[in-house]
Every structure is written in structure tokens, then in C-alpha cells.
Amino acid sequence: MNKLKFVILFIILGILASCAVNKQKYTILTPAEFEKEITKYKNTDNQWSIYKRYILVPELEKINMDSPSSGKDGSLLAETFMLLRKNKLEELKILIDNSDDTNELELCWGLYYFYIEDYSQALEYLNKSKSTSSYKYLNLLLIADATLERDNIAYNKGFRLYQKVLDATDNEAEKDVIRIRAKLLRYGG
């Protein structure tokens, strides 16, 4: 009987582990971290699929992650990035709720709802967001990803969303993320 319980427990753990693998969280990365990840997965089965979940934010390099509010770009957005990277979503919600900083407020709410997978609510904020040029790419990327997560849209429609993102950046690494996201969309990855 004990053996049977052990087998059942093992199967349940297996299923939970496979769900966790399939439903990877989106990860916010600096360009250096991104390069490291790409190198790590090069020539493996995951070399393409990792691109789907990476959100590359070059501006992170300008932020002091240990004390985001002390940095030059010490904004609510900087603290949002920090808490998201630490997966402290409850803290993030309280922080945004109580914040007087109206700069990039919609983008912060958009990021929060995106991370708790409430994509409709995320889109509501992201569509209202008037992000500055340095975060326009991020805003459009989140809109594209949230739309694709929420709606089962045709891939050419998804391409149109990614086109807007691609047009919002000159950074080649950011462009690569989009190109491979589009490739994955085409081939059902």
C-alpha cells in the first residue's frame, strides 16, 4: 500500500514539475544576462523557445538594483523591475497603489498585471501608457505578448503586433528577441 502511495505521489510530482516547465514565467533581463542565457542554451533543444519568455530591458543597466530609488533613474519603474525580478508581486502591488510617482504609472500597472497573468487588465493599462522613447519598446512588447497570451489570434496578426515593437527599437539584441518570437509564432513553438 505504501508503495502505491509512493508511486501516486511520484506521478503527481512529475505532473506538477512538467506544468512548471511548460508554464515558464517571463523574465526581465539586462543585455549582459541575456547574452549569458543565450550562450548557455546555444545548440540545445531550448535554444529557440527561451526567446519567448525573455524581456530584455537595456535601461536596467542604468539602475542600481540594490537600491533602485537611489539611482539616477530612481523611479517607480526601477523599483517595479526590482520587485518583479525578485518575484515580490504583493509588495509591488502595495508599492504602486501607494505611489505618488505618476511617471510611467500605467506601464508599472501593466507590468504587474502582466506578471499575475491578468492579460486583459494589463492591456487596459499598457494601451493607455504614454511611455517615453526608452520604454516604448517594452510597452509595445508587453502589448504584443499580452494579446498573444490572451487571444488565439492568427499568426499574421501577431506579426503585425511584433512589427510595431520592431519599429520601436534600433537595438539589435532587442530586434533579435522579436524576430525569434515571430519565428516561434510561425512554427507553433
Binding site: N156, K157, R160, Y187
Partner: protein, 394 residues
């Protein structure tokens, strides 16, 4: 089970595995896939445009004996039927057919060129939804697709073994489907004219290998076939994109040399033209209804319209039929060239565009011209799902 029966079962299984040449099934899998010719534009948008108007006059599909259905041709087939081990290895050549592509190729080429010209050109491309000649355009551009072919290899290999020993018997098998990148050739020519005089004429020829299909789910045969068609379609679309870029670059060079004195047009005009191009691109991919839905959804978010209890999709059509005015209140469910399909309860009206006198939307706004300018909508329902279909055509 008696040994004889057992061995017969093995033998039949082995014959089944090695004898089942996948050609018929492969042809079916490949032909059943439909793909859209979509790609991402690489070059940044250039909003500095001179006041030079170019009209894309014609896009000719100039291919003799086009391949309509995807072809699968056996190139090699080896079967080694040893008694205990059987091995097989097939190679097929697959050639993409037009029916696998959702868009009409000339429509796609026109849109691709127009979009590229609007994005990176230093001139203006005439936007004429009715596709009638733009008599005010200074330059005419004629495009012709002279050749295209996309074909590549598909492999199917495997083995089957079985054994008998004093300790018992057993069997096993392994088989694998594999593809290699397809070769995609495209030849396009263009001719730039002014008042009938040819100013620039060029042919563009491109060869490209299709994408290596990403690793995931490669072993799923149907998905592999679908993705193989997708990769060929994508490579063809990217050839068209590269040719469109080359044409626009050549036109830019020509105008930079020959139209130095021209003024630049305001950026606001360029912005509005870019929106039109985006809409036109959506039309080519038959997404207009979705675009429309988004537009209406966004409109509904406006405070002004929050209290409206009317269905925003329902419009009021005034139709002049045999000199008598008729009224239909309903939703547009499709547009096919000159005919607009209007759903009113369980009745479907097929109305010739030229007979539509006016269209009023739920805000009592006249949207006749806008509705008449739509070229193609997708109809989600089949005609036999309506209790009555009424044709208003004269």
C-alpha cells in the same frame, strides 16, 4: 497465441511498416496546409518623402504552367528486407503549390511593394483602394513575377527487427521523418514609366534556402509537414520582401538623381498614409473584420458611447433598387469585390455596392464612402446557415 500466428503478426507488421511508402499520406499532409505570406519589415521607417507620386499600375503573374497543388516526387526508395532486420530509406522532392498560399500572389506582391515604398521610399505611392488607374500619378510602375519555385527534400527512414530464441521472442522498430531546407527561387521584373516612356527597367533574381525548422516537436509528422510548407512560404515571402526592398532602393536612387528639386511633404501626411498602408496590408490578409472589431471596441471605451444601448455593428442601409428605395437594418458579414453581404436576423442580403445609396451607423453618422471603399471582408457564416438569401443586384 500459437508461434505461427505470432510470427505471422510480426511479419505483417514489418511488411506494413516498410511497405507503407508515405508518399500518398505526405502529399495529403502537405496539400492540406495553408499558410500566410507574412514577414517582419527590417528597415526603419523613413518619413522624409518628396512630393513625387508613383502608381503601381500592374502586378502581373507571368508564369507558364503554375503549380497549383503541392507535388511530392519520389527520388529514392531503398528497402532491404532481411529476414530478421528490415531497413528502409525514402527520399522525396516536395514542390510548393499555389493552393498552399492563402493570399493571391499578385495582391501580396502589390501590398508588399506598397508597404515597403511607404516605409522606406523617398517618394509617395498612390493609394487607390478601387485599383483604378491613378491618372494624376506622375510615374507608373509595372511589376511582373516571371518565375518562382520552392522545393526541397523530405526523408523517411527506419528499421524493424525481430528475433526468436530459446528464451522467447521480441521485436522493435524505429522510424524518422526529416526535412532539409528547401531552395526557393524568385524572379521579378519591374518597369518605371512616365507618359508611356520607360525610364528604368530591371530584373531581380533571388535564391534562398528556407529556414531550418526549429527543433520543437520535430518528430510529429503532420506538424513537420505543416512547418515545411510554412518554411517554404516564408522563404518565398522573404524573397518578395527583399525584391520589394531592392526595387524601392532603385527607385530612391533614380529619384535622388533625377528629381533633386522636389519639396518634401509634411510628416503628418506620411503618418496618415502609413495608417492606410497598414489597413491595406490587413485587407490583403483578410483581417478587416477583426480590424473593424478592434476599432469598434476602442470606440466603445470612449465615455461618450458608454451609455449607448445600440449594437455598434448594426448599420442602416438605404438601397436604391430599380428606382425604389429600400431599407435594411443589419450587420456587414462579408464583402466580396462588388457585393456587400448584410445579415439581418436570419436573412442574408447580397447587395451590389453600386446600389447602396447610404449607410448610417449606430451614432447616426454617414459612413457610406468608408463602407463602399472596403474591398474584402471575411464572412464567418456559410450561406446555408441563413433561412433566406436575397440578392439585390440590379
Amino acid at each position: 497465441m500459437k508461434p505461427l500466428v505470432r510470427y505471422s503478426v510480426f511479419l505483417v507488421f514489418a511488411i506494413f511498416l516498410i511497405g507503407c511508402s508515405p508518399a500518398v499520406e505526405l502529399t495529403k499532409d502537405l496539400q492540406n496546409t495553408k499558410c500566410r505570406m507574412t514577414y517582419l519589415h527590417d528597415k526603419p521607417v523613413n518619413k522624409q518623402k518628396k512630393d513625387i507620386s508613383v502608381f503601381i499600375d500592374s502586378v502581373n503573374y507571368n508564369i507558364e504552367n503554375p503549380i497549383e497543388n503541392t507535388l511530392v516526387e519520389k527520388k529514392r526508395g531503398i528497402v532491404i528486407p532481411f529476414i530478421f532486420i528490415n531497413y528502409w530509406n525514402y527520399k522525396y522532392e516536395c514542390t510548393l503549390g499555389n493552393r498552399n498560399i492563402e493570399e493571391e500572389i499578385p495582391d501580396f506582391m502589390r501590398t508588399s511593394l506598397m508597404t515597403e515604398a511607404m516605409r522606406t521610399g523617398t517618394f509617395l505611392v498612390s493609394m487607390n483602394p478601387s485599383e483604378e488607374p491613378d491618372t494624376e500619378a506622375e510615374y507608373n510602375l509595372n511589376i511582373s513575377l516571371n518565375a518562382y519555385k520552392a522545393s526541397g527534400p523530405y526523408y523517411y527512414a527506419g528499421f524493424f527487427y525481430w528475433y526468436v530464441s530459446p528464451a522467447g521472442y521480441g521485436f522493435g522498430y524505429y522510424h524518422k521523418h526529416k526535412v532539409k531546407p528547401a531552395a526557393v527561387t524568385t524572379i521579378v521584373s519591374m518597369k518605371l514609366q512616365r507618359d508611356g516612356e520607360t525610364l528604368l527597367e530591371k530584373e531581380y533574381s533571388l535564391n534562398r534556402a528556407s529556414e531550418i525548422i526549429p527543433q520543437f516537436d520535430r518528430n510529429l509528422k503532420i506538424l513537420l509537414a505543416n512547418n515545411y510548407i510554412r518554411s517554404m512560404t516564408e522563404a518565398f515571402a522573404i524573397n518578395i520582401k527583399d525584391i520589394s526592398e531592392a526595387i524601392v532602393e532603385d527607385l530612391n536612387d533614380y529619384f535622388n538623381e533625377n528629381e533633386v528639386e522636389r519639396d518634401y511633404v509634411p510628416e503628418s501626411l506620411v503618418d496618415s498614409l502609413l495608417i492606410q498602408v497598414e489597413l491595406m496590408e490587413a485587407k490583403t490578409h483578410y483581417e478587416v473584420l477583426l480590424e473593424k472589431k478592434e476599432e469598434i471596441d476602442n470606440f466603445l471605451k470612449d465615455d461618450e458611447s458608454q451609455n449607448q444601448d445600440k449594437d455598434p455593428l448594426v448599420m442602416f442601409f438605404v438601397i436604391c433598387n430599380k428606382n425604389v428605395l429600400e431599407y435594411i437594418e443589419g450587420k456587414i458579414v462579408g464583402v466580396e469585390d462588388s457585393v456587400i453581404e448584410i445579415e439581418s436576423d436570419t436573412t442574408l442580403y447580397l447587395v451590389n455596392k453600386s446600389l447602396i445609396f447610404s449607410v448610417i451607423d449606430y451614432r447616426d453618422k454617414d459612413i457610406t464612402e468608408k463602407i463602399k471603399s472596403f474591398k474584402k471582408y471575411v464572412s464567418y457564416k456559410k450561406k446555408d446557415e441563413y433561412s433566406e438569401v436575397i440578392l439585390i443586384n440590379e
